[in-house]
Each structure stands twice: as C-alpha cells, then as structure tokens.
C-alpha cells in the first residue's frame, strides 16, 4: 500500500493532516482533561460516522441501526469491565458475592452462561471485533441476497434498533436494564477514571479512529470503492457485469458495524458506562445526522460533522435546551435539502463555498485571489479561468 492508494489529491492529504493535528495536538494542549474527555466521547461517534460514509455515502445503504453495533461493541467491553469490578471482595455485601450488582438486585444467584467467557480479556477484545461484524453480516446477507434495499432496509434496521434496545431494557437481571452497566472502574487493574488513563484512552481512541479513517480511504480509493459507488448508482448494471452485489453490500455493512463496535467499546472506556439509551432509534438516527452534516461522501468530513454537531449539542443544550431541538431539526432539514453533501461538499473545489469565493472574494481581495489562483494553477485550471474573468471584471469596473 503506498501513499497514492490512500489519498487521491493534495487536498485530501491537507484535510487529513489538519484533522490529525487538531485531534492529536491542538485539542489535548488547549483543553482541560474534563473537556478533552468530552471530545474523546465525540470521537467514538466518529467511528460510526466513518462507517456510515462507506455504507451510506458510498454504497447508498442507509442503516438506521448503527446504534445496535455501537451498543454491541460497547456492551462487550462493559461486560468485561463489570466482571472485573465485581470481584468477590468488593462485592462481599451482596447476597451472592462475585456477580455484578444489578444481578444481585434481581435475585440472580449465578452468573449467566453468556457472561462467563467475558471474564477473559482476550475473549472480550475478540468479541468486540467479531460480534458486531458477524451480526451485521448475517442481517445484511439475509436481506441483500433478497435484494432488499433502500427504504425497506432503513425501516427494518430501525426496527432492529428498537427491538435490541427494548430487549436490553426489559431484561434487567441479565443486562442491567434501563440503567445499563454502570460503575465501571478499572481495565486490567488501571483506574480508567484517573487523569493519566483518560489521556491514554483519548489517544488510543484517536489513533484507532485514524486507523479506521485511513482504512476507509483505502477502501474508497480502491477498486472495491469504485464498485460500491457503481452499486449505489446503477445496481443492476453491476450485477450484469458479474459482481456479487449482495456480497459487496454485506461486506461494507459488516465493515461499518466493525467500526461502530470499536467506537462503542472506546465509548465505554471514555465515559465508564453503557446503557440502552445509546442503542435505540434516536441515537442511531443521530449518528446518521452527524455523517450527513459533515458530508456523507467524505470520511474526514463525517468526523468533523461528529465533532461539530456534538459540540453544538453540548453547548446549546446546556445554555438553551429549548432552542436546541429547533436548531438541530432545522439544520438537518437544511443540510438534506440544500447541502446534501454536507460541510465537505460545501468546501470542496467547485462546491458552493469556492463559487462564492470566486464571485465575491476575488472582488474584495484581488491580490489574494491572484496568489491563490497561481498556487492552484497546476491543479484546478477551471478555477483559475473563472477567477481571471472575475479579475477582468474588476479591472473593467475600475476603468
């Protein structure tokens, strides 16, 4: 794999490096650990966003059930941490020491069989990766093979999100119910709430996220990525050309689930709990919003979308809780109707912002425009031409 398979243009390199600098250097230097932890939480939604770009933006499959896979990964991690936190000594006041507290409250006296293997760290780590992927592949394969797609797929995945969240909610003794799995303290003996480990967890999340971003870019710029786009735009032609459309779709659905699962596991480490409120319909559709606002076609854009929307949510819902839903709903309608490619679509060459710049920026700052035009001359001749005409207009007007 060389650098060209990852980045198609210089602009892609710049945006990736900017995001990396922001997440890895600027934020940790500027923010106190509490705020940084908040950003760490947002980053875990970024995993879902990257998956959605591949799945929805590139392959045209809208899943309203990404929260399910986020939750599966998260619960796998939370179950391991909970078992570590419920050793017989610290739970000795319970009627059955050594099992999680919520089981004891629900008169369960023996660890259920599916909790047993989560005592092992390697098993839990493997489960975080394997379980969401397999579940997604199973669902995807069952549906894509029957050529269920588009709107139906969206509705059915939404129903699955409802089922899983209600199911976890209703089985309090086995899953912790509505409160979820709380009071998680240590990972292999390391206190996950101390400042040092918060920094470590933040950096692990960020680096894993960049691994997912780069892998996503690799897929997008590979032959597979072009097949995915072809499936989105003209499914039957791809099928007639001999590609296994159902397999490609199941693959990308499983990959998106894998990313979401990793995100969920990191989320648990960041915030120290997991609950069904992160799985249901609303969080699942919110994750789609993040990707839509940032740009459904661009993995970097989606991560920016996650950061911006969540920052807005935290800031506004603290200050103006009533206004927040209006703002969120309005933004969403506006993005879907007027900027279907999101922020990334706004800023890319040839997008609305660059057009606006050509129209007004060149008039206001002709010198700067000329210099930018010269810098870009090798990559975007059309932009230069447009700016030259704009410049001519300016000179004519001054004459």
């Amino acid at each position: 794999m060389n650098i060209k398979t990852l980045f198609k243009s210089k602009a892609e390199v710049y945006t990736t490096v900017t995001l990396a600098a922001l997440v890895l250097v600027v934020l940790p230097l500027l923010l106190p650990i509490f705020r940084l932890n908040l950003f760490g939480k947002y980053l875990t939604f970024g995993f879902v966003g990257v998956g959605l770009v591949l799945l929805w933006g590139r392959c045209g499959i809208l899943s309203l059930g990404q929260g399910v896979f986020f939750g599966l990964g998260g619960y796998c991690m939370a179950m391991f941490l909970k078992l570590e936190a419920s050793d017989p000594i610290s739970t000795k006041i319970q009627s059955t020491p050594g099992i999680p507290d919520f089981m004891d409250w629900n008169q369960i006296t023996k660890l259920p069989w599916f909790w047993e293997p989560f005592k092992s760290f390697p098993f839990a780590m493997a489960a975080i990766l394997v379980i969401p992927t397999l579940v997604a592949f199973g669902i995807g394969w069952a549906m894509f093979r029957r050529r269920v797609g588009g709107v139906y797929f969206a509705i059915i995945t939404q129903a699955i999100a409802l089922i899983i969240s209600l199911g976890i909610d209703g089985n309090q003794g086995y899953t912790g119910g509505r409160n979820g799995i709380t009071d998680l303290r240590t990972l292999l003996g390391m206190d996950i709430r101390s400042n040092v480990s918060q920094y470590i967890i933040y950096y692990i999340s960020a680096l894993l996220l960049f691994a997912c971003i780069l892998f996503g870019k690799y897929i997008i710029n590979s032959r597979m990525g072009r097949v995915l786009v072809a499936i989105r735009d003209r499914e039957d032609r791809v099928r007639f050309s001999g590609y296994d459309v159902a397999m490609c779709r199941s693959f990308v659905f499983a990959l998106a689930a894998l990313f979401s699962g990793i995100g969920g596991a990191m989320f648990v480490l960041q915030v120290g709990f997991m609950s069904p409120s992160l799985i249901g319909i609303v969080p699942s559709i919110e994750m789609v919003i993040f990707a839509a606002v940032g740009g459904r076609l661009s993995v970097i854009g989606a991560v920016y979308g996650v950061l911006i929307v969540n920052l807005g949510k935290t800031t506004f819902s603290e200050a103006f809780p009533e206004l927040w839903l209006f703002l969120m709903g309005g933004t969403f309608i506006a993005v879907v109707m007027f900027f279907p490619d999101g922020l990334a679509g706004l800023t890319e060459p040839g997008g609305p912002l660059s057009k606006l710049w050509q129209k007004w920026g060149a008039r206001l700052l002709p010198g700067l425009a000329r210099r930018i035009a010269e810098n870009h001359s090798s990559t975007a001749t059309t932009t230069v031409l447009a700016e030259k005409t704009a410049l001519n207009e300016v000179t004519n007007a001054t004459k």
């Binding site: 929805w56 045209g60 809208l62 669902i139 069952a142 549906m143 029957r146 050529r147 269920v148 588009g150 709107v151 139906y152 969206a154 509705i155 059915i156 939404q158 129903a159 699955i160 409802l162 089922i163 209600l166 199911g167 909610d169 209703g170 319909i281 559709i285 789609v288 919003i289 839509a292 009533e322 839903l325 209006f326 969120m328 709903g329 309005g330 933004t331 969403f332 309608i333 879907v336 109707m337 279907p340």
Partner: protein, 304 residues
C-alpha cells in the same frame, strides 16, 4: 385458571388489542398512502398524529371553559378539526419540503425526521412536557358486559367504529372517485399520467395531505385510550411503518390485516409475558418474516 377464565382473558385482551389496532390502522393507512403509494417516508407521521391529539385536547379545554353544554357533542367536531389541521399542515410540508425530495426517498426520511424534532419541541413549548388528557364526553366512558366475566370498554368500540369508517371512506375515495383513479394511475406510471393530462404534482400534494389528515384522526382516536405527550406520536412510528411494510407496501387491505395481527399479538402476548417482552417478541417475529419475505404479506403487482 379454567378454560372459561382463559377465554374471558382472551376476549378482553383481544379488546385491549382492538384499541391498539384502531390507532395502528389509522396511522398505517395514512402511511400506506404516503409511503406505499408515493414512496415517501414520513418520519414525522407520529407528530401529525400528536397534532390531532392536541387539537382534540384544545377543543375539549375550550368547550369546557366557554360552553360546557356542548361537552357531549364536541368530540365529532374535534375529529373533523383534527383531520383538517393535520391535512393543512401536511399540504404545507409537501409544498415546502417533500416535493423537492421525491427523487431522493432516503433523504425524505432524514428531512422529515428533522421536522419531527421541530414539531415535538413546538408541542413541548406550547403544551409543556407533561402528558395531557381531554375531558371525554360521558357517553364514551364506562363499559358494557355481555357476560359475567367479560368487560368491554365503550371507548374501544367507538375507536374501532371510527377506524372502520375511515378505512371504508379511504377505500371508496381510492376506488370510486376521480381523484382516486388519478392517484392510482400516477402510482402506476407517473410519466404517462402526466402525458394524459393528470396534474401529478397536485395529486402528490393531495395524497400527502390526506395521509397526514388520517394521522390527525388517529391522534383524536388516541386521546380516548391514552394521554398525549410531545413524544406520543414517535412511540408509534416504528410500529406503524412495520404495519405498512408487513402488509405489503402499496396494499391498503394488507395494512388492515397486518395492523390487526400486530396489535392482537402484542396485547395478547403482553398479558402472558411481563413488561415489554410481548412487544419485543412481536417485532422480532415481523422482522424475521420480512427478512425472508421482504415483499410483505400481500405484495401488490405494480411494476416498478
């Protein structure tokens, strides 16, 4: 528990299911019109239902404050008002939003979800986060007893009759009026319908607003069996979509059958399984069936 008691429980849970069935059916019919016929996913459908419910509540409060003597007869008027208001809002939404998105069905889903957020917050700002209940007329209260152990609430029967009447009118509307003919023609072949002089844009707007209007009636019906909060509608939206998809999207008859099946399964299972397990089991069953039979129970034979 002897057989007689079991049978009584069955009948009574069945009637509890009938109320749920009526609301699901009314929601589903509106959706079947909007989604099945036009291919638009209206995630704000639940909020149109809530609009109907709040309209009924407003009517009841106004009547109680200013004309208590009208209390026995306000309810039918409230139903009509609920229909008109929801239909009007539906037409407005179609004009401002949906008509620009017909070529992007997945995007209608996202945009209408944004709309549902806004509507929910509007209800919360106006009526408060607390659930409200309209004062129901006397004749809707109480129950009658056909036998010693069976107790059938009157509001359930009323809602069932209402749902039946709306279904009947919708079927007449679709199959016996000129507009219904135009709508069915547009669904079958939009281009050709336009070519023979049908104003397909007008057909879309009317179909969307009638669908929303029926959701408003569902809301009015809902007030007789439960209290209304800002998010009441969104609690039914997934069930309503499953009703439509399970029944076979473009088939109104299928929606009736699947609404009945889903509502009855849910309420009967809820009695035997605790908590939400009845609902989980029902939804799970439907999703599994849809995975193996994605076209639903009664697929329509329209070429796409």
């Amino acid at each position: 528990m002897n057989l007689q008691e079991l049978w009584s429980i069955f009948i009574m849970q069945g009637f509890a299911g009938i109320s749920l069935f009526s609301v699901l059916l009314l929601m589903g019919l509106g959706l079947a019109l909007i989604f099945g016929q036009m291919g638009v996913i209206n995630m704000a459908h639940g909020e149109f239902m809530a609009l109907g419910a709040y309209t009924t509540y407003l009517c009841s409060t106004l009547v109680q404050d200013h004309a208590p003597s009208l209390l026995p007869i306000y309810f039918p008027i409230a139903i009509v008002l609920a229909f008109i208001l929801s239909a009007a809002l539906g037409a407005l939404v179609e004009w401002g939003m949906i008509r620009h998105l017909y070529k992007r069905p997945l995007d209608t889903l996202l945009a209408t979800w944004g709309l549902s957020l806004i509507l929910q917050q509007t209800y919360r700002s106006i009526f408060g986060a607390r659930e409200v209940t309209p004062t129901l007329p006397e004749w809707l209260m109480g129950s009658f007893k056909p036998t010693e152990s069976i107790d059938i609430p009157i509001n359930g029967v009323f809602v069932l009759l209402l749902a039946g009447a709306v279904t009947g009118s919708l079927l007449l509307f679709m199959f016996k009026t000129a507009f219904g003919l135009r709508l069915r023609a547009t669904v079958q072949n939009r281009l050709m319908s336009g070519a023979v002089g049908i104003n397909t844009k007008m057909v879309d707007r009317l179909a969307f607003s009638v669908g929303c209007g029926i959701a408003g009636i569902a809301g009015a019906a809902f007030t007789t069996i439960g209290s209304t909060g800002p998010d009441s509608g969104s609690r039914y939206i997934v069930d309503a979509f499953l009703v439509v998809v399970f029944g076979g999207a473009a088939n109104l008859f299928g929606s009736v059958v699947s609404a009945l099946g889903i509502a009855q399964a849910q309420s009967i299972l809820e009695f035997f399984l605790e908590g939400t397990k009845g609902k989980v089991a029902t939804l799970l069953f439907i999703v599994v069936v849809l995975m193996f039979r994605p076209q639903g129970l009664f697929p329509s034979k329209v070429r796409s």
